[in-house]
């Protein structure tokens, strides 16, 4: 893709981009634009393979980052790299870039990277995604059974973790859901083990 130019310099898009740049909500980002030279963004157009991985790092910054739309607001991009970036043609990319960007493209990547940023995107993020993973078991029934019927006080910790699984999942915090599920399971098992050991020791003491 050797013929990269700024959209403002493309005759067909100049009017569109020029007019749009003034009305973009992302306009305040422009002060960051000069810093992009050090962010590696200029290589994006000629290095499409690297970009999907570069994107998650920019995402936590959210919408502040780096004035991407200004950087390469279209130019030849609509044909060359359609999936590279939702904000390719700037006028259309803008709405996608905020909630939709992470939703559609970032979903598989969320497992490979830091998980914190997902919580910023609010509810509904993961719905309708074809690659959605399976919701983890919340072990709530087991936790309650262990706590109430087996007299195991560790089960109460499992209940706390269990009750967080669903809400984490609904928020799109899949990693949090899996971790809470795992913790709940661990606490259930630990509680049962403590109960078994205590009872076995007690039984032995009774017979000796």
């Amino acid at each position: 893709m050797p013929n990269w130019v700024k959209a403002g310099q493309v005759p067909e898009l100049a009017g569109l981009f020029g007019a749009n740049a003034a009305t973009q909500p992302i306009h305040p980002q422009q002060p960051y634009a000069p810093a992009q030279g050090t962010q590696g963004n200029p290589t994006q157009p000629i290095n499409p393979g690297a970009q999907p991985y570069g994107q998650p790092q920019q995402r936590p910054g959210g919408f502040r980052p780096y004035g991407q739309p200004q950087q390469h607001p279209g130019g030849p991009q609509p044909y060359g790299q359609p999936q590279q970036r939702p904000g390719g043609p700037q006028p259309y990319g803008q709405p996608q870039q905020r909630p939709g960007g992470p939703q559609t493209y970032g979903q598989p990547q969320q497992y490979g990277q830091a998980y914190g940023p997902q919580q910023q995107y609010g509810p509904g993020q993961g719905f309708g995604n074809p690659g959605q993973p399976i919701k983890p078991d919340n072990y709530l029934v087991w936790s309650i059974l262990i706590t109430l019927f087996c007299c195991l006080i560790g089960g109460i910790v499992a209940i706390v973790y269990s009750s967080k699984v669903n809400s984490c999942w609904d928020k799109g915090d899949y990693q949090g859901a899996y971790e809470n599920s795992k913790n709940a399971k661990t606490w259930c098992i630990v509680s049962v083990c403590i109960g078994l050991v205590t009872n076995v020791v007690y039984g032995l003491m009774m017979f000796m």
């Binding site: 109430l148 006080i153 706390v160």
Partner: protein, 132 residues
């Protein structure tokens, strides 16, 4: 997600769980935890001498299986809170349709978990202070 085909290990697990539940019901119906030495004891009771919030649960279950619900509540009053919570959790885990989703989203929240924990410890204190 509403209609997930159950795989074979899941079916086996379900059958085993149901079987264990059935055995437990038969055992708790037939034998009274009061007079039998081999029922599991509460570790909290054994270690500290205090009644834990779940203590009396086995006796209560035995009584409830025989239809003596007042007696069951006498053994453990906390089941007024615990059994409905367990039923809701069970419904949330088993119902896959919109009802189950609604239960999971609106009833089985972290707040519900914390309320249960708070009631649990209040009951823990109350029953040991007033010997309930």
């Amino acid at each position: 997600m509403a209609s997930t085909s159950t795989s074979k290990p899941t079916q086996i697990r379900t059958i085993l769980i149901l079987l264990a539940g059935l055995i437990a019901i038969v055992v708790y119906y037939t034998f009274s935890p009061e007079g039998s030495w081999w029922f599991p004891k509460c570790p909290v009771k054994l270690l500290t001498g205090l009644d834990c919030p779940g203590c009396g649960g086995q006796r209560a279950f035995h009584a409830a299986l025989h239809g003596h619900f007042a007696e069951a509540l006498h053994y453990n009053l906390f089941y007024i809170v615990g059994i409905p919570f367990l039923m809701i959790a069970l419904a949330g885990a088993l119902l896959k349709g919109p009802v189950g989703q609604w239960i999971n989203r609106h009833l089985l929240t972290p707040a519900a978990g914390w309320v249960f924990v708070a009631l649990y410890f209040i009951w823990f204190a109350v029953r040991n202070i007033w010997n309930l």
